[in-house]
Symmetry: C2
Subunit: 170 residues, 2 copies
DNA sequence: CAGTTTATGTCAGCCTTGTTGACTTTCCAA
DNA sequence: TTGGAAAGTCAACAAGGCTGACATAAACTG
């Protein structure tokens, strides 16, 4: 596909030094430590409520795709419906999420954030974006492009479609 | 530090388009979906035993720094000693990890993988490296450099030192 | 030497969030 | 009208976080 270049070696035969076990181990640890940072700020906010990461994930993807169905969310989040249902139930009871019966198919429930839900979503995502913005700014646009390329390759293929599909509102 | 370039805009004033909220949201989702992929292969292997991700993390960092102390591991993993101890106890009982009393300071316990522990470590890390290697290869060396730069910026500063410190054997 | 701090281990209990299995209700579509 | 999909619920369980309290041994300190 794209020109992958030969990096610092300059020749047409790539050095492949970036594929050594040691480099891979560094990549593995980078994922581990960075993911901790990635979740740290929202976790602190969630701890002030009775919510956890599972609630954050549901709120995030409902906000991204207002009107998404429960089945759709299940597919994205990769958990059982019992797990998701427990989370959705509390969010609905607490008035952060609204569940509307589908018009075309009245078995389906379409999920929306309420005003209050949107307020929490903003609080969480602003904290998370602040850190990512700082990281992106420090790293620069080319590093960000590489970051996204590698992460996309690391996903399971089925997840890649969720990552790319951004417009499934109702 | 390094030249961050101006990307496609070519001018000396960076476009900053890579810092929009939408780009940041894509980065957030990339982290979410990629981390799922990142843990998927080891998780499948661990499920065949009675172990979980917590055991994998302990095994990984003991393998990286043979002879590391319990306190050292606690700092790296960021959990309570009770949580870590539960994991270490089973690994020691199962003969995957050996705990040796320190010579200089006999309060300390130094942790090592046994032959059997190393065998499981290899199985887990080979699975994880396989995916990372494929992602790195597809993305190319420049993307990998960017990937690591962004992730490093995303870490909490205290974690960055663990990421960089690679030589603390005993 | 006495007292304090440090490193580790352990017990008990709690919470979140994942799982499986069984079952019901609703309701679209053949 | 009936089969099956979508959704929801209940129960039980496990992993792996957490807090708090307490024990022991070793090292350090005045």
């Amino acid at each position: 596909m794209s020109d992958r270049g030969a990096g610092q070696t300059g020749g047409r035969g790539e050095s492949l030094l970036f594929l050594t076990d040691d480099q891979l181990r560094r990549g593995i640890e980078a994922m581990f430590f960075a993911y901790r940072g990635f979740t740290a700020d929202p976790d602190r906010i969630l701890a002030e409520y009775t919510y956890g990461r599972a609630h954050h994930r549901a709120i995030h993807f409902i906000n991204r795709s207002p009107g998404t169905t429960v089945n759709n969310l299940l597919d994205i989040l990769g958990v059982t419906k019992q797990s998701l249902n427990r989370v959705l139930r509390t969010l609905i009871q607490d008035g952060l999420v609204e569940s509307r019966v589908g018009t075309r198919d009245r078995r389906e429930r379409h999920l929306f954030l309420t005003e209050e839900g949107e307020a929490l979503e903003r609080q969480l995502s602003e904290a998370q974006r602040r850190r990512m913005r700082a990281a992106f700014r420090e790293a620069g646009p080319e590093a960000v492009a590489g970051f996204r390329t590698v992460l996309e390759q690391m996903m399971d293929p089925e997840m890649r479609k969720h990552y790319q599909t951004m417009k499934d509102g109702w």
